[in-house]
Amino acid sequence: MEYSSSNQRSSLGLGDTNDVFKKLSQTQIKNAYSQIPSFSVEGTNQSITAWLVAKHAHHGPDFGLDPDKYGLTQGDLDSIAKNGLINHIRFGGAVPNEQYVQALQKRWKTFAEHKNVRNCGIQTVIGEQCHVFKHDRTRIFLSFKEDSGESFTGYQLNKQQSLDHNKYGIIGNDYKN
C-alpha cells in the first residue's frame, strides 16, 4: 500500500483511526502488529518481529529514519519512550504505522547483515542474554535474544557507553538478578 498521511493507520489490519486503536486491549494491539511479517536475518535463526520493532519505535531515528515521513512526531517517539507503546496509544498518541515499522525492520536487517557490523557474540543487554552486533564507527548496536533469536533492542550508544561496551562486553547493568 502506498503511504499517505490520511491512511497512515489503515494498514495494520484493524483499519481504523487512533480513536478505535486506543480502545483495543494490549493483546489486540500486539496481534495487529503481528500481522506484519517478520524479517529474517540471512544465514541465522534470527528474526526481526514487527511487535518488538514497534515497541522500540522511539529508536528509529538512531537508524536514520525520519518519523515525520510516517506521520509521527519526535513528541510521539518521546511519549513511546516514556510511557511504553501501549500506554502511548491508550493516551491517544499516534500509532506507529505499518510503513514505519517495516522501514525500521528493513534498517535492522540491513544493519545485522552488513559486513562492517561486528559480531560481538553472546553478551548481556540490560539483563538479557543476547546476540549483539555493533558498528564501531557509529556506535550503533542491535541485539537478538539468545534463546528465541527474536530481535530485542538496538540504538546508538553514547561515547562512554560504547567505550564501556568495548571494555566489558555488557550493555546496561542487570538489576533484576
Binding site: 494490549q26 531515528p61 538512531d62 537508524f63 536514520g64 529514519l65 525520519d66 518521546d78 519512550a81 516514556k82 510511557n83 511504553g84 501501549i86 500506554n87 528493513k106 534498517r107 540491513t110 544493519f111 552488513h114 562492517n116 557490523v117 540490560i126 539483563g127 538479557e128 558498528h135 564501531d136 564507527r137 557509529t138 533492542t153 546508538q156 553514547n158 561515547k159 562512554q160 557507553q161 560504547s162 567505550l163 564501556d164 568495548n166 550493555i171 546496561g172 547493568n173 538489576y175 533484576k176
Partner: protein, 161 residues
Amino acid sequence: MQYNKRKHLKLLKSSQKSEKPRKILSDEEFLKLLESRPDENFFELEAYSAMMIAHLHWQNREQYFELIEQFLNGPINFLDLRKKYRSISDAVERLKAELILLDPVEPYNKAFGFTELINEIIMLFDRYCPDPRIREDYEFSEEELKNLIQKIFIGMKNRYP
C-alpha cells in the same frame, strides 16, 4: 588513560569527522554510513572525547541532581534528564568541531564514574513498564524503578558532593 590535550588536538586535526547522531538518511545513505570504518586513531579520539564530555557532565552535576530529585518526588519523566545529557554531549561536539578543548586533567579523577551513573539511570528508563499486564521479566514497575534510582542517587550525592 590520562587526558592529553595536545594529543587530542592533534588527533582532531588529522582524523575523520564524527558522524552526526540521529541524522535522517535514505536507504542508500544508511548503507553508505555502514560502509564507514574507524580509522587508526578513532578509538583514542573517542576516549578523549568521552573524557571531555564526562568532565562537563560532572561540572553540571547540581542540575542533574535537581532533575533526579524531581522525578523521584513526582511523576516519572526522564525526558528532561535525557535532554540535558544530549545538550551537554552536543555542546562538546560543537566545541570540538571548532577545535576548542576543555581541559579535564585536574578534576578528571573527581569526575570519574559520574557519567556512567547518569547513563545507568537513563538506561533504566528503557526498562520501565507501568502496566503490569504487559511487563516483561526484565522490566520494572514505577516503584521498583524509583527504588533503584534512589539507591544510585544516594551513592552519587555522597561520591560527587
